[in-house]
């Protein structure tokens, strides 16, 4: 695909000199955030931080396939929904054990990813965007019609998951650090994948699938596995989101949510992984502050996104590295 080329050229310079420092800074800030509770009510701060990190997990997972595989999924919110509904449905039947609900969330996501990926990956470019959107809509409507589990209105989760009888998600501070650990795990897993032989094949397939096939790689299988990994990580995000919100609803998997995930990846800087974390944080923080200021915050936020596209190539990460380069020069 000739389309894929510009993504790589945009991302490459940022990776070169920010590969260690920026992730270190991000995780340092996130780890220290609860200590800043003097500045704002602690529960508010923890809830906001938890929410940011949950969506950051999903955004990093999406960046893995968009940034390194040029597989633009417009239906990734479906996986968040699957993970969340696994928690909700099990809880509705009185099962709150993490050792059951987390594997269920992951397995459901992986199975859905394998089934839909097997079909979607036969298409390319725009058609891939649209077919993943179609599958996302299917799951959305399925959830909307699950009358026994709340249908359109969603499902309240009576109590959060427990680990072998231990209510580990109960304390907001503990929950915060568990989500923090999950984000760190996701980030370093994706980073290891990108650096591995598997990741190189994925990148190669993005640049030139024909050449990779000629070299003897079955590109389709690599892409399918990457899609499944990305789906599973979004399932994890959904699992955490359900536990943090005590609630699941079809709105978690609306196409607007899938669009938001793409925007988070782009806003931060595609193809860097840590850019996705920055993007998720920036998106949710800007939305939070603008919405406190005015009910019509999207009138400001919309044009802001347009301006970022027009002038900030490579997202916030690209912008920072441009500034850094100018200062060095």
């Amino acid at each position: 695909m000739a389309k894929a080329a510009p993504i790589e050229t945009r991302a490459a310079p940022a990776v070169a000199h920010a590969g260690v420092a920026v992730p270190g800074l991000i995780f340092g800030v996130l780890a220290a955030l609860p200590a800043a509770a003097v500045l704002a009510p602690e529960n508010y701060l923890l809830a906001l931080g938890t929410r940011i990190m949950t969506f950051a997990i999903a955004a990093v997972a999406l960046d893995l396939i968009v940034g390194y595989g040029a597989l633009v999924s417009f239906g990734h919110a479906a996986f968040i929904g699957l993970g969340a509904y696994a928690v909700g449905i099990l809880a509705a039947h009185g099962i709150g054990e993490l050792l059951i609900s987390l594997p269920s969330a992951l397995v459901a996501s992986v199975l859905f990813a394998l089934a839909t990926g097997a079909v979607s990956l036969r298409t390319r470019g725009v058609y891939f965007i649209m077919i993943t959107l179609a599958f996302g809509q299917m799951i959305f409507f399925t959830a909307s019609s699950l009358a026994p589990y709340g249908g359109d209105d969603g499902l309240t989760i009576a109590s959060r998951n427990i680990l072998l009888g231990l209510p580990i998600f109960k304390d907001p501070r503990v929950l915060y650090y568990l989500v923090f650990a999950a984000l760190a795990g996701t980030f370093f897993l994706c980073r290891a994948i990108v650096g591995s032989r598997f990741g190189r094949v994925l990148c190669g397939a993005k640049e030139n699938p024909t050449r990779m096939a000629t070299l003897g790689f079955e590109v389709y299988r690599f892409q399918l596995v990457a899609y499944a990994i990305s789906g599973a990580l979004c399932g994890l995000a959904g699992f955490l989101l359900a536990n943090a919100n005590d609630f699941v609803s079809p709105a978690y998997m609306s196409w607007q949510r899938s669009g938001e995930l793409i925007i988070m990846v782009l806003l931060g800087g595609i193809g860097t992984l840590y850019g996705a974390i920055i993007g998720a944080a920036a998106y949710l923080l800007i939305a939070e502050f603008l919405s406190q200021w005015t009910e019509y915050w999207q009138v400001i936020f919309g044009p802001f996104l347009v301006l970022v596209v027009l002038f900030g190539r490579g997202g916030l990460v690209g912008l920072f590295s441009q500034i850094a380069r100018k200062r060095h020069a």
């Binding site: 389309k3 993504i7 649209m130 179609a134 409507f141 806003l267």
Partner: protein, 306 residues
Amino acid sequence: MSSLVSIQILNGLQLGVLLFLIAAGLTLVFGVMDFINLAHGVQYMLGAYLAVTFYGFTGSFLIALVLALVATLAFALALEVLVFRQLYARDHLDHVMATFGIILFVDQGVKLVWGAAPLSLPVPELFSGSVTMMGGLLYPVWRLVIIGSGLAVAVGLYVLVGHMRVGMLVRAGATNAPLVSALGINISRLFMLVFGFGAMLAGFAGVMIAPILSVEPGMGDAILILAFVVIVIGGIGSIRGAFVAALMIGLVDTLGRSFAVDVLRLFMGPSPARTVGPALASMLIYVLMAVVLTLRPAGLFPAAGR
């Protein structure tokens, strides 16, 4: 039963031509400029809102229609010049992000200007009655007017795109835009023309549907997704594909919603059928799309050279 089916088929056709009006512009913009315009649904919504406002000023549906079309055209051209023109050369992700931002802006802006409460537009006096169908059921004339005007636009587009010079340029642009430009055609003016015309068609769809739907913020988003399904099934860049797929989607969706529960009751008890039916009905078009793309990865009528 048979008259009920025929009414639902008419409703399906009505949804189909509406989708065609929106999808026609979308597929041209997509095909000629390779541009993903998520904000196309915004034009449909604006068409409806502007018609309500202009009707309030003038009291004439026809004048409101004309003014709304002119206004949507102006809005589309402004967007094209200010934003989209800079993005044609970028990749699809940039298109998604920019047009997503425009959706947020316009959806919220509409709330700011017209309020969040749904508005309505009366059916024009001349077409406000109903016709008696076989079996004694009544069918509103306005829906027939929508079907008729949609088909008229389809014929007009067929002549315009298939048999006129400007249409030839559009088709050539969809196949190979750089080459058309190299042959001395002002491609950016062609792009602007296609974009404005497509947006105006979406605005037209919004005006026509306003008398039978409630005019509310976000009304363009749901229909936009359907329009995308249409152009992907039809093959991006193909007007003919958009027409066939739009009628297909309109009929499948409408008939599915009306009869899914009844059909399922043949296989299962009434209670599970009532649960599964609506879910299956809303999924049906996406299943159709997945099947079509599995069999024909570039849609039913892929434009040549893609």
